[in-house]
Symmetry: none
Subunit: 238 residues, 2 copies
């Protein structure tokens, strides 16, 4: 069973996704539900405010480009109702600088489209962790003697720091989070790469190859390939 750090909480995280592209909103909601969260979607600013009132989300994903009203108007509406709900904004890649200025003040964060699903979930978890008071504890993933600190982006094998590129980090995080489950290459592509990535070559194998050299070299291998299926990170089964 995948690693769900939220299963022990009394109530699941409540997420509101606001995006006028149903494709995107559903994608995010689906992934969140798979993590055990409670997710609803809205396609317009008006709908978003209605949903927020009835659903009282713990966190919001808000596309700044909405058909009816400006995303900032929705934000004001959310904030006007008193609750200081944290927000992760979505912006187009070509968004002007003044539109994304100030988005990370407070505890909020933002992401440019197209994003990778794992990246978005990681940001949501980080924002949530921080919004739960100042004494938030770091999130450290651990498999065998391999550790990953998601906040400092520090990865160590047997205590020795390893430096990873962004893609390598993302892929390894996904494998570690789901460890000891086996993930197919399709899953990895869908979660780690941007959602509009069309490449169907051997990118995954390539990055895994690099990861092995950096992480498994000279140690007991933790990255295993399951032929015909995909990859998994775990200690040799005993």
């Amino acid at each position: 069973m995948p690693h769900h750090e939220d299963v022990n909480k009394k109530s699941p995280v409540r997420l509101l996704v606001v995006d006028d592209e149903p494709h995107i909103a559903d994608l995010v909601a689906t992934v969140a539900r798979y993590e055990g969260w409670n997710a609803v979607t809205a396609g317009t600013g008006e709908e978003a405010l209605r949903q927020a009132a009835g659903f009282s989300p713990d966190i919001v994903v808000l596309d700044l480009m909405l058909p009816d009203v400006d995303g900032f108007t929705v934000l004001d509406g959310l904030r006007a109702s008193g609750a200081m709900v944290p927000v992760v904004f979505l912006t187009a890649k070509d968004a002007t600088a003044d539109r994304i200025a100030g988005l990370t003040r407070g505890g909020d964060d933002y992401l440019v489209k197209p994003f990778s699903v794992e990246e978005l979930m990681a940001r949501l978890r980080a924002v949530l962790r921080r919004s739960n008071g100042p004494a938030w504890k770091r999130s450290v993933l651990e498999v065998g003697d391999l550790t990953m600190d998601e906040d400092t982006r520090e990865v160590k094998r047997a205590g020795v720091p390893v430096s990873l590129t962004p893609t390598e980090f993302e892929l390894l995080r996904y494998l570690m989070r789901r460890s000891p489950a086996v993930l197919t290459k399709a899953q990895i592509l869908d979660h780690v790469w941007e959602y509009d990535f069309g490449g169907r070559s051997n990118v995954v194998e390539l990055v895994v190859s690099h990861l092995r050299r950096k992480i498994d070299d000279g140690h007991e291998p933790l990255i295993h390939t399951v032929r015909g299926v995909g990859y998994v990170v775990r200690r040799a089964t005993g």
Copy 2:
């Protein structure tokens, strides 16, 4: 985990923010809450006095330019209730000299709009520290052999003083406060620069470059760039 010097206190700091621009009031409240403080806002002088009575804040952020009553009237109201609550004033850039005269008597302080949020938080922390009796201890940030005294603005590397410009100091303070977390350039821009700064060029890289020359030159590097993510100040992990 970021440096939160308040987590061990019995009760969190109680902050009242008085500003007629909701954007500003919310901004300050959000950042304060992110630091673990308890923050409420007021948009008018009347509301401010009401809030102060019920909330009994430890410290107040007060815009001198209010729609209904003069900021000084609010101040008198606050002080009339006996408690000697410290205040950090906000003034417009074009405020006349006589209006800001005497504002820093007592333990108070003031800031001109637009300010940077880190600057405001630093002043609030400083005023709070001093208001807790005369024997306030200095706040010294420390990362490896790099130290920063926030009150004297003294920065030393391996005991040797380094002189920094205001922007350099502010950026370094932000990185040191959050060390060993990695901060994105967007976060740095949002926190260190004034809140209406629209700059989209390589200011951050430039200032970091200057900081490196002044701080890391000839030493073990403490400022690291995390490609594709941002910057971090920390000792090489071991």
